[in-house]
């Protein structure tokens, strides 16, 4: 069994995001980049399944500029066997990503495609679902537990009402929640070994995919600043303020 895992390079989650002055996006110069956190969970789960003997190969794929390769390299350092880097510049929308992944799935014929439930930069939460539609494969989103059974997957999903357990046929798409597992550290010897693992490079146009954005972005701006709170002296004052100022009761 082959598992294809999609990983994305995003601004590190510890970095305070700054909006560009002209409102065209966020500042990425001089900013630390990392793997999208739930993508780390996706890689970890794939590697675990391989270690349990239920999978034979884990392939990490990323789409993005030259430096996005680091994200694949990191996946290789924690146990993926080989990598694919689809070179593409600029904003790549979920639909274009799904179409690229579809082409790669056609070529690699994986049994499972894993990825994070959403990316922390655009928060779209669409790629897995779109890929499922394009491939016409079943999907399990927001996975917090995955059991590989013969030709089937049992997946526990994190949903608003609690936990939902579903069973789907493979091949399938699974999007992973942060609660799925605790990603391992890349050890120093494994980082060295990862430098020797192959990464196949191609471009979106090699795959015949048009990545031009279909959505026009009008403006990016910072959320309004929260006003400082005040201390009230009594319950009566609180009620009065909730009624008359906040108008919530």
């Amino acid at each position: 069994m082959k598992i294809l895992v999609a990983v994305k390079r995003v601004i590190d989650y510890n970095v305070q995001i700054r909006v560009k002055e002209d409102g065209t996006g966020v500042v990425t110069d001089n900013v630390k980049m990392s793997t999208n956190p739930p993508d780390d969970n996706a890689i970890e789960e794939a590697v675990k399944i391989k270690e349990s003997g239920k999978a034979t190969e884990v392939i990490a794929v990323t789409i993005g500029e030259e430096k996005a390769q680091e994200t694949v390299r990191k996946a290789l350092a924690v146990g993926a066997d080989r990598g694919i880097h689809v070179k593409a510049e600029g904003v790549i929308e979920p639909l274009a990503v799904s179409k690229i992944l579809q082409k790669i799935a056609d070529k690699e014929k994986p049994d499972l495609v894993f990825m994070g439930k959403q990316a922390i930069d655009d928060d779209c939460n669409q790629t897995g679902q779109m890929l499922s539609a394009l491939l016409d494969w079943p999907q399990a989103t927001f996975a917090s537990k995955i059991d590989v059974k013969d030709g089937k997957l049992e997946v526990v999903r994190e949903i608003d009402e609690g936990l939902e357990t579903i069973e789907i046929n493979t091949p399938a798409i699974v999007t992973c929640d942060l609660r799925l597992n605790e990603p391992r550290y890349a050890s120093l010897p494994n980082i060295m070994k990862a430098k020797k693992k192959p990464i196949e490079q191609m471009s979106a146009s090699d795959l015949g995919i048009d990545i031009a954005p279909k959505i026009q972005q009008i403006k990016v701006e910072e959320p309004p600043k929260r006003k400082a709170g005040i201390k009230v002296s009594s319950v009566a004052e609180l009620v009065q303020k909730l009624k008359n100022e906040a108008k919530v009761i």
Binding site: V15, D29, N30, K32, E182, R184, Y185, L188, P189
Partner: protein, 539 residues
């Protein structure tokens, strides 16, 4: 011990200017050498903080074609100012009357973090193996006592010291020679200086704490290439310090403040002195209307030649500010750090190829321009122990008339942790409230550093005596850690009418000030789990 080990010709600890220059020079001298470099930050540059006005002398020697290699050295200094600040007034000092070492017209305004990222690219292209996210936490010794290498930190240890599921043991990295390039107050360098008694017959080391903020300012206030320094307000005559403001590219200014850690008043808060400094009309008018985008702080070495330890020992070398090569009157340490790393590389090559003793480092260092510079600079910092005014007069005579060639050497008399006076003997300082326009509280500042440490790991700020902060330091010095820490790591909290010393180690920005200034040397900074700490951008 069950740890894996890997052997290299040279193991370098720290990806700053000295370590990276050593790595590059080694590979230039012999491409067949196996060289690896460890860095505790999540990427090269993420723990680098510096002014920085850069003198290219060392880089010109290391990579003479740096201008063709797309280096991030772009903004040439075009204008210089020096101001003496009073509370509201300022007096401009003509630059031609500044000592030559403080004139900058051939230098560049750079981000040292970006320079290091670029140096790392050059090093990797030459085949140096660079491992960010791996702090060296332990020195390994051979049976004969010589340094054998280092071990990296175990990862995946919980607060109580138990192994988590994700536990990943550290690795032993063994080198024919190990180069320690951790920067000011390196935590292994400190151990080596003690073990090999490297500071024997030297003056005690002197430190400062440096703050830096990056502001994006309005076009009308921005003069790319402009370098401004100030002395005076808000510090009193007896406290050593001053500010810098460098107008870099993209409408940014690098604004900072350095205070000598030999200050005496435990009520002094270096952070608040810096914040208050920004309210001076001469400063405020430049940054007002702009936006603060970065903040950080780091201890720096000020002791100079008198305090410079012996830099070689069996199996290892100490380079850059892990030893203390900063040139204080120049307020520059990057070029001297780089050169010290390059000399280390030459030494190592002769050691490995010709079996020469590492002690040749000292001869090479003494023959180099770094030594000449540090020798000429040696009397400036100690003269300021007489106060700002006498310090300036003496420095004028020493640096302008005699060009550092006076036939005597002033001494540093105290270590920085000995200088605090009891709290009840010193005046309390009332700092103004933060206005959230040019001044900000510590919490919002630390937020800008992107600092994070994986939770559920052991506290990396170790107390020798856990009771001392409350039983002694609080009463005698009003626990100055609350004020000297630039990141709000230390707090004294009341709990059921009992005072409690709290260490918020996840806030730590790895500046090392506590390790230096704690009056009883009760706090030891050790390496946290890899990748922890700040994530500085172009600092």
């Amino acid at each position: 011990m069950g740890r894996e080990s890997m052997e290299y010709d040279v193991v370098i600890i720290g990806g700053g200017p000295s370590g990276l220059s050593a790595a590059i020079k080694l590979k230039q001298l012999d491409p067949n050498l196996n060289v690896c470099l460890l860095e505790k930050a999540s990427e090269i540059g993420a723990h680098i903080l510096s002014g920085n006005v850069f003198e290219t002398r060392a880089l010109d020697e290391l990579l003479p074609n740096w201008k063709e290699l797309n280096s991030p050295i772009k903004t040439k200094v075009s204008k210089e100012k020096f101001l003496f600040l009073g509370k509201t007034k300022s007096l401009s000092w003509p630059t031609w009357l500044l000592p030559k070492v403080q004139q900058n017209h051939n230098n560049y305004i750079i981000s040292l973090a970006n320079l290091c990222r670029w140096l790392a690219e050059q090093a990797e292209a030459l085949g140096v193996e660079i491992f960010p996210g791996f702090p060296a936490s332990e020195i390994l010794y051979n049976e004969d006592g010589s340094v054998k290498g280092v071990a990296t930190q175990d990862m995946g240890i919980d607060k109580e010291g138990n192994k988590k599921d994700s536990f990943e043991p550290g690795i032993e990295l063994l080198g024919k020679v190990t180069v320690f390039a951790e920067g000011c107050r390196g935590h292994l360098g400190k151990q080596l200086i003690e073990k090999f008694n490297l500071s024997k017959d030297r003056d005690p080391q002197q430190y400062g704490i440096g703050f830096k903020e990056i502001w994006e300012i309005e076009d009308k206030n921005h003069e790319e290439g402009m370098v401004m320094h100030t002395a005076g307000w808000p510090l009193d005559n007896s406290t050593y310090g001053g500010s810098f403001m460098y107008h870099a590219e993209n409408k940014q200014v690098f604004l900072g403040y350095v205070i000598g850690l030999d200050y005496k008043n435990p009520h002094l808060s270096p952070y608040d002195e810096f914040q208050r400094f920004k309210t001076h009309p001469a400063i405020k008018k430049i940054i007002e209307g702009g936006k603060r985008i970065s903040y950080g702080a780091r201890a720096l070495i000020e002791g100079g030649l008198q305090s410079l330890p012996q830099m070689f020992m069996p199996g290892a070398l100490l380079v850059g500010c892990d030893a203390g090569t900063l040139n204080m009157p120049k307020i520059k340490g990057s070029h001297t750090a780089m050169k010290s790393g390059m000399i280390a590389a030459e030494t190592i090559l002769e050691n490995i190829k010709e079996n020469k003793n590492l002690s040749i480092y000292e001869e090479k260092f003494k023959k180099s321009w770094v030594y000449e510079e540090l020798h000429a600079a040696r009397n400036v910092k100690p003269s300021f122990s007489w106060g700002l005014i006498l310090g300036i007069i003496f420095t004028g005579i020493d640096q302008i008339l005699f060009r550092g060639k006076l036939p005597f050497t002033l001494k540093h008399k105290h270590t920085d942790h000995e200088t605090l006076r009891p709290a009840n003997e010193m005046p309390k300082i009332e700092y103004p409230k933060y206005d959230n326009v040019v001044t900000f509280d510590k919490t919002s500042s630390v937020y800008l550093t992107g600092t994070n440490h994986a939770d559920n790991q052991p506290v990396h700020l170790k107390l020798k005596d856990p009771n001392l902060p409350i039983s002694y330091t609080l009463e005698k010095f009003d626990e100055p850690a609350q004020r000297y820490c630039p990141a709000g790591v230390y707090e004294v909290q009341k709990e059921n009418d009992q005072n409690k010393f709290v260490i918020n180690s996840q806030n730590c920005i790895h500046c090392k000030t506590c390790d230096i200034k704690e009056p009883s040397q009760n706090i030891t900074w050790v390496t946290p789990e890899g990748s922890g700490g700040p994530k500085y951008g172009n600092m």
